[in-house]
């Protein structure tokens, strides 16, 4: 037996190692092996030099099965340890023959990575590269870009990004958003008096964005246009319902305020009525008792008309909301048709339009009932009252007595951008809303009739800019104000919003570095924030939001540091703002000075622990920073060496990329240090004379 095996030569390990390179055959040739009824891990393989280039000479189905050798980390299946093989048709594989020269028992040992230069067409003939997608393994590229390469480059297997779908499209055709929700603004629940208006404007903003995406989809074959329009109509309907629902609160507040305002007027009217009837009756009868009875009877006669007015109250909100639905839809359709870019004045005008609708709804609902109480109304006008008191009636302002609940439980910021973080609220521009509402009312010239006639069909809604088809044209003629809502005309504005804490007054200027392009197209990353003012009153670090007018930049994340030391002169001030993520594509501010930026100081974000005297801190320009470590091994201070400023200052551009400090230590861990930048002080001239004031 032993001798027999010794004589055997075509046996692996006894007669050389015959290796080969081949191609995994198409799906059809793999039969049930890939459809859940296979045996072992096998693939049909066409092997170069052994199998012909033509299927006429050898059908794919007649190729030999090659066993697939698994890596030791893959698991054989024993003990439930297993990993599926990841071979696709068209893969170029490498292996050996178990039976040596007989070449009937191939084994696949590995696979060559696919490159961009290899084709990904459908299968045509043996050894010609073809796609690994099959009838059962498909990718239309909608969620994850189609890609059949495995290379060490940035284009291989691109993943969806954490950006909005709109931004993904702008970045490149192979970019996808990780979720359609990313970039959407969420307005949190709040009892804040202005929350309803914020929610309404946020809904309009989100609709404009969604419509922008859908309108982009209209560049599709005509047979698909209907589906897109259907989506637009559904969006319009959903937003109408949502906004009409949100408007309930406004209607409720205005109704409540109206009745509370009307009651004293009616009361005064009743008293005046009594006086009048009393005087008339007394003059006629000379009887005080008769006159009293007549006056009281006159007042009592008003009970039913007053009751009719009162009975409208419980139904007012529902009646008004149901009556303004079409008008809200009309306003939204105007925005949908004309507005390309949501700007705050569009939101203000929309709320103004909504307010006019509510005023119109209330006056129309109550109008017929007011005839019954006209005798005691005096000069009270529903429309006039609502319009003059609109600010208070919408609960935009809310005077609180000491017993009222203070609204200090609102979130530091009430808006959140999905996938990004807290958003600074623009605030509710009450004056602008009221001005737009009143201006629109004047243009319609008639309160009840005019407002109620504000239907799209009548065309009178055109008083609002967003109903003007030219609102997105730079040279638009304005009716209520210059509320241009096309693409931004200038993109160089960059803002650092500091918000969401108790303090105020902190101001920072973003520093753009890693600049690509020139002139108007110059853009880069945020490499620092120059803190202009620390403000005051911050009892927790505020949020930092870096935005540009064109919404081009993305990904810059910064955080604030405040001073908690009560004995410090900068107590409760913002002392630093450091960059967590530099982002990209931010326009270069026009006011970014010509002076280059140089290191100012090191911000110890986290002192870490267990550092020793061997700790060395350097930047990417190899400058060494002196480190001060306390007895507990924490980094308590890091100084900027003169050499760092000097070395970098000699560079005409100063620091033009995000500075990074590297900590080398055998023992320490956890410290995080950031380098704050400042504009290099301007040159003060040559030293002419040194005066020694001591001696």
């Amino acid at each position: 037996m032993i001798e027999e095996s010794l004589l055997k030569s075509n046996f692996v390990g006894r007669d050389g190692f015959i290796w080969w390179v081949g191609q995994v055959a198409p799906e059809k040739a793999q039969g049930d092996q890939v459809n859940g009824a296979g045996w072992g891990n096998r693939r049909k393989v066409r092997i170069m030099g052994y199998h012909p280039f033509s299927t006429l000479e050898l059908e794919d189905e007649d190729l030999p099965w090659a066993q697939v050798l698994l890596p030791s980390t893959g698991g054989s299946g024993k003990g439930n340890k297993a990993t599926t093989i990841s071979l696709s048709p068209g893969d170029n594989v490498f292996g050996f023959f178990l039976d040596g020269d007989d070449a009937q028992l191939p084994v696949i040992m590995g696979v060559f990575g696919n490159t961009l230069y290899a084709g990904s067409d459908e299968y045509s003939s043996p050894f010609v590269p073809f796609t690994g997608y099959t009838s059962k393994v498909k990718n239309d590229g909608a969620a994850h870009p189609k890609n059949e390469t495995n290379e060490e480059n940035s284009q291989s297997q691109k993943s969806p990004r954490h950006v909005s779908p709109k931004l993904a499209k702008q970045i490149g055709e192979n970019e996808r958003a990780v979720s359609r929700m990313v970039g959407e603004t969420v307005v949190f629940g709040s009892a804040s008096p202005t929350a309803t208006i914020s929610k309404i404007t946020s809904e309009v903003d989100s609709m404009v964005n969604a419509i922008g995406d859908l309108k982009g989809s209209l560049q599709i074959p005509s047979d698909a246009v209907g589906a897109v329009k259907g989506k637009m109509d559904k969006l319009l309907s959903d937003k109408t319902d949502k906004i009409a629902g949100l408007a309930s609160g406004l209607v409720g507040n205005m109704t409540n305020g109206l009745y509370k305002g009307m009651a004293p007027a009616l009361n005064g009217g009743l008293n005046a009525l009594y006086d009048k009837v009393f005087a008339t009756t007394f003059a006629a009868t000379k009887s005080r008792g008769t006159a009293k009875q007549a006056g009281a009877a006159a007042q009592a006669a008003m009970m039913l008309p007053v009751q009719a007015v009162q009975n409208f109250l419980p139904c007012a909100v529902g009646n008004v909301i149901s009556s303004i639905g079409d008008a809200v839809k009309g306003l939204l359709r105007g925005i949908m048709d004309n507005v390309q870019n949501f700007v705050s004045c569009i939101g203000e005008q929309f709320v103004a339009g909504l307010m006019n609708q509510i005023i119109g709804g209330l006056t129309k609902g109550l109008g017929p009932l007011m005839g019954g109480v006209s005798k005691i109304l005096g000069g009270f006008s529903l429309g006039g009252f609502l319009r003059s008191k609109a600010e208070g009636l919408m609960a935009i302002t809310n005077a609180l007595s000491c017993n009222d609940t203070t609204p200090d439980f609102d979130a530091p910021t009430n808006e959140w951008v999905i996938g990004k973080g807290p958003k600074s609220a623009v605030g509710v521009a009450v004056d602008s809303i009221l001005a737009a509402a009143n201006a629109a009312d004047k243009l319609t010239e008639s309160l009840v009739g005019g407002i109620q006639d504000l239907s799209v069909a009548s065309g009178s809604l055109g008083v609002f800019d967003f109903l003007n088809p030219s609102v997105s044209v730079p040279s638009m003629g304005d009716s209520l104000g210059k509320c241009y809502s096309g693409p931004p005309l200038k993109c160089a504005g960059l803002k650092v919003n500091i918000f969401g804490s108790s303090g105020k007054g902190a101001i920072g200027k973003a520093i753009v570095g890693s600049i690509i392009g020139q002139g108007n197209t110059a853009a880069g990353s945020i490499i620092g924030v120059d803190l202009v003012s620390g403000g005051s009153g911050y009892n927790s670090p505020p949020f930092i939001e870096i935005t540009d007018e064109c919404k081009k930049g993305y990904g810059a994340i910064a955080r604030a540091v405040i001073d908690y030391d009560e004995d410090s002169p900068t107590y409760q001030q913002v002392t630093d703002i450091y960059i967590v993520s530099e982002g990209e594509n931010y326009p270069v501010p026009e006011d970014q000075g010509v002076e280059p930026f140089v290191p100012d100081h090191v911000i110890p974000i986290n002192p870490g622990e267990n550092y020793d005297d061997d700790t060395v801190v350097t930047d990417q320009w190899d400058n060494v920073y002196p480190v001060y470590i306390d007895d507990d091994g924490r980094i308590v201070k890091v100084s900027v060496p003169d050499s760092a400023v000097a070395n970098i200052s000699t560079n005409p551009n100063g620091i033009d990329e995000l500075p990074e400090l590297k900590i080398a230590s055998r023992t320490g861990f956890g410290a995080i240090l950031k380098l704050a930048l400042k504009p290099r002080p301007s040159y003060q001239g040559e030293i002419k004379q040194v005066i020694d004031c001591v001696s």
Binding site: V137, H162, G183, G249, G318, S581
Partner: protein, 181 residues
């Protein structure tokens, strides 16, 4: 669009495992997102295009996105105690039904425990209904309503309108009967 130059993106750190077109793990992807670059992502897409993504960005935001519904179920084998625990160490916890949905909470007993204030703010109606009893307990309790049987006479609409008028007792009784004051 001006992406950062490749030399300023850390591709050396990126690693991925793609299990086909439906699922992948991506780690250290330096492509910029709205909250910085990607620390890791578990990305999935179903046959009908529904996607889910779970992961974290380098600026520290952990996210769970899902196109369809999300189930979070705990406690199948727990006998008692807390089986689903949501804790925000600092900052707010917010729940928002964004589009057209409601927020519903159901339990044997429900406790809302605020260190300071509780506000219920509804655009339209609030209804409190108890099978047995409703107790209000406070140092101060006010009702500011224009109509209804809780509306105090002196601040109700009818009360305000007819305050100080000369309508007789019988007529006033009529007002009350009619629910005007």
């Amino acid at each position: 669009m001006a992406e950062r130059p490749a030399s300023k993106q850390n591709w050396q750190q990126r690693e991925y495992i793609n299990f086909g077109p439906k699922f992948r793990i991506d780690m250290g992807n330096p492509q910029m997102g709205m909250n910085g670059t990607t620390t890791y992502d578990l990305l999935a897409v179903a046959d009908d295009g529904n996607t889910s993504a779970v992961g974290m960005t380098d600026a520290g935001l952990y996210h769970i996105y899902n196109d369809q519904c999300i189930d979070i179920i705990g406690g199948e084998k727990a006998d008692s105690g807390c089986c689903v625990n949501i804790v925000g160490r600092n900052g707010d916890i917010t729940i928002t039904a964004q589009s057209n949905g409601d927020v519903k909470i159901t339990a044997k007993n429900i406790t809302i425990d605020a260190d300071k204030n509780i506000t219920l703010d509804a655009g339209s109606d609030i209804k409190l209904k108890a099978g047995n009893r409703i107790d209000l307990e406070s140092n101060i309790a006010n009702c500011d309503a224009l109509v209804g049987n809780l509306a105090p006479r002196d601040i109700s609409f009818g009360g305000l309108v007819f305050s100080g008028t000369k309508i007789g007792l019988d007529a006033a009784q009529g007002l009350k009967t009619r629910g005007i004051v």
